[in-house]
């Protein structure tokens, strides 16, 4: 009994704080939604411009299965593309960092590659990978890797050269310096890019689903868009925003766990 009460008295100091931190945004959200609801009704904004939040919720609840299935599928595509894009992005940064000639030869082409709208080669992706989850992941990969490369390179360049020299004086080879110095030092910058890439990967997956598919948030979005189902558009926007925030939070969480040393040099 006493044991229980002490633990209840001591432990929760932290956990109430955490609960509080988790509840606060939710409260804000609820408040915001309520405000919009009232505003829309008061100003009599037509649903084609801005539907009421309750209408959007009702729309989702009418066919929750469709949204859930879409969410899951899109999540898989995004996750796959994101992981592949991040790994590739870091890999390219390492290569470009190690071989300046390669960077100068090909980095501009990386930039160029990003300026090609997906629609220009989406058909080619479908051609090669068919209507598979993989095809979407490829597009999501394509959209997300450049920020990772750019930021990782930036992280590398912020390493103190004297630190590198010290490692060299220990006889460290390039791989060791990379693993023990460059990569950890680039982590703070890398995570900025990962947050960005998580959003971009989701965008890529959704756009990827426009190249002929049957499930996914992109399909729902497209359907709603071309049927001028404004409530449907908003419903899909809300669901994908939730997915995006979820991914973002996941990356942030990992960041807080991994980059604990923050700004100290």
């Amino acid at each position: 009994m006493t044991g229980v009460s002490t633990s209840a008295a001591t432990l929760p100091v932290a956990s109430t704080g955490r609960v509080h931190a988790a509840v606060k945004p939710v409260l804000w959200l609820a408040l915001g939604l309520l405000a919009i609801e009232v505003l829309v009704m008061a100003l009599e904004i037509r649903p084609y411009y801005l539907p009421r939040p309750s209408a959007i919720a009702a729309n989702i609840m009418a066919t929750p299965g469709a949204y859930l299935a879409g969410l899951w599928r899109t999540f898989l595509e995004t996750a796959l593309g994101f992981v592949a894009g991040s790994l590739f992005g870091v890999l390219m940064a390492v290569i470009f960092h190690r071989w300046v000639t390669l960077r100068e030869l090909f980095f501009p082409l990386f930039v160029v590659s990003q300026t090609i709208p997906v629609i220009a080669f989406g058909a080619v992706v479908v051609l090669w990978f068919g209507n598979t989850l993989f095809a979407k992941a490829v597009i999501s990969f394509y959209i997300s890797f450049l920020p990772v490369t750019v930021n990782t390179l930036l992280g590398f360049s912020s390493v103190d050269p004297r630190q590198v020299q010290l490692m060299r004086s220990f006889g460290a080879n390039d791989v060791q310096i990379l693993r023990r110095l460059y990569l950890p030092a680039a982590l703070p910058q890398l995570f900025v890019a990962l947050k960005l890439a998580s959003s971009l990967a989701l965008v890529g997956a959704i756009v990827g689903e426009w190249f002929g598919d049957t499930t996914g948030l992109g399909v729902l979005l497209l359907q709603a868009m071309y049927n001028e189902n404004v409530v449907g558009i908003w419903a899909t926007i809300v669901v994908s925003a939730c997915l995006g925030m979820g991914l973002y939070s996941l990356v942030s969480l990992a960041e807080r766990k991994i980059v604990f040393w923050g700004g100290e040099q």
Partner: protein, 253 residues
């Protein structure tokens, strides 16, 4: 010093061109060698031909798109930085602004385009808004990360000089964040052009996206690629300009 920098960037430009030529050569060879039809991959020479043929309309569209992306880019940068500064100065704002920004950014640009086209019309305004939204998020994230990255001990030091929040921001946080902000700006250049193009594809009066959209439907892949090459050149110039500024002003790394 400046001569050194010049020769340095001259070499970089040279190498960049060499890389482009290399890829172009491989492209040309595979397109011709494998006898690929234009609807799979048109040859580089035919694209260049298309470029020359449609030079006038492409140039006009390029100006249009460049103007949209640049305007949106500038607005986006300012908004993104301002929001990041706000969030850093008023920590309470973070729990509201950050999730909201993430939410907005998690939805593909194109999902908003019906709404934005509805709200801002088919002209430049809607493209500028879309570009600004996309750019501001990138800048926002980079800027907060940069502002947060500052060495705590240095903050302590200048606080001991009596520096208030603003002085800490101006003399310490912003310079510390500058490398990351500029990296964000660099990534955004590319995004700004592509967002402008994608939005144009969904509804516009002019611009490269508009040309691409028309050309796809007319199954004119040479034109599609010609427009893409123009778009890439815009992005690359844009990217190069920001990189140049970066090298000028972030010299201490």
């Amino acid at each position: 010093m400046s001569a050194y920098m010049q020769s340095d960037s001259a070499r970089q430009i040279g190498r960049g061109l060499a890389g482009a030529l290399l890829v172009a050569a491989i492209w040309e060879l595979s397109a011709r060698g494998l006898n690929l039809p234009a609807y799979v991959l048109p040859s580089v020479t035919s694209i260049l031909g298309g470029l020359v043929n449609d030079a006038a309309s492409l140039a006009k569209a390029a100006r249009y798109t460049a103007a949209e992306s640049f305007a949106g880019y500038v607005i986006g940068c300012l908004v993104g930085m301002a929001a990041a500064v706000l969030v850093t100065m008023i920590p309470a704002a973070r729990s509201v602004v950050l999730p909201l920004a993430t939410a907005i950014n998690s939805v593909p640009v194109v999902a908003y385009s019906p709404l934005v086209l509805l709200w801002f019309g088919m002209g430049m305004a809607s493209k500028i808004v879309m570009v600004a939204v996309a750019v501001s998020f990138t800048i926002f994230l980079s800027t907060i990360a940069g502002l947060d990255r500052v060495d705590r001990k240095s903050v302590d030091l200048i606080r001991s000089f009596g520096a208030g929040r603003l002085a800490v921001l101006w003399r310490l946080r912003l310079p510390t964040a500058l490398p990351l902000i500029i990296a964000g700006m660099r990534v955004s250049t590319v995004r700004s052009v592509i967002v402008a193009i994608v939005t144009e594809m969904l509804g516009a009066y002019d611009g490269l996206g508009w040309i691409i959209y028309q050309a796809v439907l007319q199954i004119d892949f040479v034109k599609v690629w010609a427009a893409i090459i123009v778009a890439s050149s815009i992005s690359l110039t844009f990217f190069g300009a920001i990189s140049f500024i970066e090298r000028r002003y972030v010299f201490w790394r």
